[in-house]
C-alpha cells in the first residue's frame, strides 16, 4: 500500500516526534517497505481463529491491596528527574 506524506506526519504526531523533512523522506521510504512486507499476512486464512494476546498460561495474578516496601524512595526517584523543586518534577509551562 502507498503511504502518503500526510500519513507519515500523522504517525509522527501519534508518536510524539518532531521530524525533519529529511527524516520524513527516509522514514517514509522505510515504513513503506516494512508495511509492504508485513502485508503478506493477507494471504493467510485466519477465519474463525481466536487471537492470542499473550503466551503466559496464567490469568489474573492477585495480591493484597496493601502498600509494600518499595526498592526506591521518593528522594531517589526525584533525583532522576532533570529538574525538580519542592518534591515535584519541574517542566516548562504547559499552556
Amino acid at each position: 500500500m502507498e503511504i502518503t506524506r500526510e500519513e507519515i506526519e500523522h504517525l509522527a504526531t501519534l508518536s510524539n516526534f518532531s521530524l525533519t523533512e529529511e527524516e520524513k523522506d527516509s522514514l517514509g521510504a522505510d515504513l513503506k517497505n516494512i508495511i509492504k512486507y508485513i502485508s503478506q499476512l493477507d494471504e493467510l486464512d485466519t477465519e474463525g481463529v481466536e487471537p492470542t494476546y499473550q503466551v503466559f498460561e496464567m490469568e489474573n495474578v492477585w495480591r493484597p491491596d496493601v502498600i509494600t516496601e518499595q526498592d526506591a524512595d521518593r528522594e531517589a526517584l526525584l533525583k532522576l528527574a532533570p529538574e525538580s523543586e519542592q518534591n515535584q518534577i519541574k517542566v516548562p509551562k504547559v499552556l
Binding site: N16, Q54, P82
Partner: protein, 455 residues
C-alpha cells in the same frame, strides 16, 4: 564454571577480565567498565575464602551485563541517548540473584538501542565488532554480551531475547545462547521492549554453565507477575528419541554452509540412533510478518514512557511541555527506534487495527498450534539460528527489511513462548561461526540444555 579459590583469587580473576576487556576495546564491547566496584567486591570474596567462610556458586566469577538491566553500578543506558545519564536506584532481580551467589559485574555491554536490531549497529555508541572477523557484525541485539563471552573476557554474560537477540549473536560468535521459556526468569528491572515476547537469558561457553545460571536465576518473583511458578530443575528428564526438522525452512534462502552444518548435525544424530522426523509447518513462513506487527505495537506502548520528564535526557531549549516531549524523543531515539514506534502506532491505529494487529494475533494462535502439533511428532526441533553467518558491518543497516529477514528462524519460538537454545556448530570456510537452534516445548529448558551435550 571456574570460581574463586585460595589459589585462584577473585581479585586475580576480576583483574584479568578487566585487562582483557581493555585489550579488546577496539571491538566496542562495553558501554562502561565497573572497575572500582568489581575490585572491591572481589576483595570481599577473597577475604571470606581466606577465613574459610562459605561462598556462593558463582564466587568471584566476573560477568558482563547487557546494558538494559537496571542496577546502581554504572548508568543503564540501553545504548541510547535518551537514557545516557540514567543511573538506576533499583536492581534487577536476575542481577540480585547472580550477585547473591558471588558473581561480579565487570562491565555493561553494548546493544542495539533498546534492543531494536539484529547487528548491534543501532547502538548510540557505535557497533560492536564480530569476535572472529572485525569487518563483520556481532549480531544483535545482545552483540556486546556475545562477543565478551566468545573472546573469553568473561565466562558468562546476560542477555535479553525478544525475537532472537540472544540466539543470533550467540550463533554469530560461536557460543551458547539460551532463550528460556517465556516467564522463566524475572524481568523486574529489565528495560521492556515487547512485553509478550521479552525473556532474560544467558551466553556461556558450555551447557553446564548454562544449567547452573538457569538454576540460580529461574523462578517466581513477587516483583514480576509474569513469572511462572518454579519449574526449572523439577521437570523430569525426557528420553529424547525424535528430532524434528522443518521442511519449509529448506526452501527459503538459507546460506549453503549453514544448511551443511544442519545436515551434518542431523546425520550425526541419526547415526547415534535418534529418529529424524520431517515436519510440515506451513504457517511459520508468516511468523516474521506476525512478529514485525506485534513487536512494534508493544514497542510503541513500552517506549512512550521515555519523554524527558522523569528521568534520562531532556532536550534543551524547549519552549513548552509539548516541545519537551517531541524534542527529547526525536533527539533521544535512534532511527530504528523511531521506525518501530511509528510502525507500532500504524498497526494499532483505527482503520488498520483489524487488518494488521488483530490479524497478527490470530496468526500467532496458528503458529502456536503448529508447534503443538509438531511436538506430538518429535521431542525437539532443530533448525539453523539464522539463515546466514555474520554479515559485513554496514551491509544491511540501511535496509530494515533485509535486517528483519535475519530474524526469520528465531522469531517463531518467541511468538509461541517456547524454550530455545543456540548451540555452536562449527565454522564456514571463511572461519565464521555457525550456530544451530534446538527448540523445545514450554518448560523443556533443562532437557534442552542437557541434550546440547550430544552435539
Amino acid at each position: 564454571m571456574k570460581i574463586a579459590t585460595k589459589e585462584n583469587t577473585a581479585l586475580s580473576m576480576v583483574e584479568a577480565a578487566l585487562e582483557k576487556a581493555r585489550e579488546y576495546q577496539d571491538f566496542n564491547i562495553f558501554t562502561s567498565l565497573n572497575d572500582e566496584v568489581a575490585l572491591k567486591k572481589a576483595a570481599i570474596i577473597d577475604a571470606k575464602i581466606a577465613k574459610g567462610e562459605p561462598v556462593g556458586r558463582l564466587a568471584g566469577v566476573p560477568y558482563a551485563l547487557k546494558d538494559n538491566f537496571l542496577s546502581p553500578e554504572g548508568n543503564t543506558t540501553a545504548s541510547s541517548h535518551i537514557l545516557e545519564p540514567f543511573k538506576s536506584p533499583i536492581t534487577a532481580t536476575a542481577v540480585e540473584k547472580l550477585e547473591a551467589e558471588g558473581a561480579i559485574m565487570i562491565g555493561r555491554t553494548n546493544l542495539d538501542s533498546f534492543a531494536h536490531g539484529s547487528s548491534t549497529e543501532n547502538s548510540y555508541f557505535g557497533p560492536t565488532k564480530n569476535s572472529v572477523d572485525d569487518t563483520c557484525v556481532a549480531g544483535g541485539s545482545s552483540g556486546g554480551s556475545a562477543v565478551a563471552v566468545a573472546l573469553d573476557i568473561v565466562q558468562f554474560a546476560t542477555g535479553t531475547d525478544t525475537g532472537g537477540s540472544i540466539r543470533q549473536p550467540a550463533s554469530f560468535n560461536g557460543v551458547y545462547g539460551m532463550k528460556p521459556t517465556y516467564g522463566t526468569i524475572s524481568r523486574y528491572g529489565v528495560i521492556a521492549m515487547a512485553s509478550s515476547l521479552d525473556v532474560v537469558g544467558f551466553f556461556t561457553q558450555s551447557p553446564d554453565d548454562m544449567d547452573l545460571l538457569m538454576s540460580i536465576t529461574a523462578g517466581k518473583d513477587e516483583k514480576d507477575m509474569t513469572t511462572l511458578p518454579d519449574f526449572y530443575g523439577t521437570v523430569s528428564a525426557t528420553t529424547v528419541k525424535k528430532i524434528g526438522i522443518v521442511k519449509d525452512f529448506k526452501s527459503s534462502a538459507v546460506h549453503p554452509e549453514v544448511q551443511q552444518a544442519l545436515d551434518a548435525q542431523v546425520e550425526k544424530l541419526a547415526k547415534k540412533g535418534y529418529e529424524i522426523v520431517e515436519l510440515d509447518m506451513p504457517v511459520l513462513k508468516y511468523a516474521l510478518a506476525v512478529y514485525y506487527i506485534i513487536q512494534p505495537a508493544e514497542v510503541a506502548s513500552n517506549l512512550s514512557r521515555y519523554d524527558g520528564i522523569r528521568y534520562g535526557f531532556r532536550a534543551e531549549d524547549a519552549k513548552n511541555l509539548a516541545e519537551v516531549y517531541a524534542n527529547s524523543k526525536s533527539e533521544g531515539f535512534m532511527p530504528e527506534n523511531k521506525r518501530r514506534i511509528m510502525i507500532g502506532n500504524f498497526v494499532l491505529s483505527s482503520g488498520f487495527y483489524d487488518a494488521y494487529y488483530l490479524k497478527a494475533q490470530k496468526a500467532r494462535t496458528l503458529i502456536i498450534k503448529e508447534y503443538e502439533d509438531a511436538f506430538k511428532k518429535c521431542d525437539f526441533i532443530l533448525t539453523p539460528v539464522s539463515p546466514n553467518p555474520a554479515f559485513k558491518l554496514g551491509e544491511k543497516v540501511n535496509d530494515p527489511v533485509a535486517m528483519y529477514l535475519e530474524d526469520m528462524m528465531t522469531v517463531p519460538a518467541s511468538l509461541a513462548g517456547l524454550s530455545a537454545l543456540a548451540i555452536p556448530a562449527g565454522t564456514t570456510t571463511d572461519g565464521l561461526p555457525v550456530g544451530l537452534q534446538l527448540i523445545g516445548p514450554r518448560r523443556s529448558d533443562q532437557n534442552l540444555i542437557n541434550f546440547a551435550k550430544e552435539f
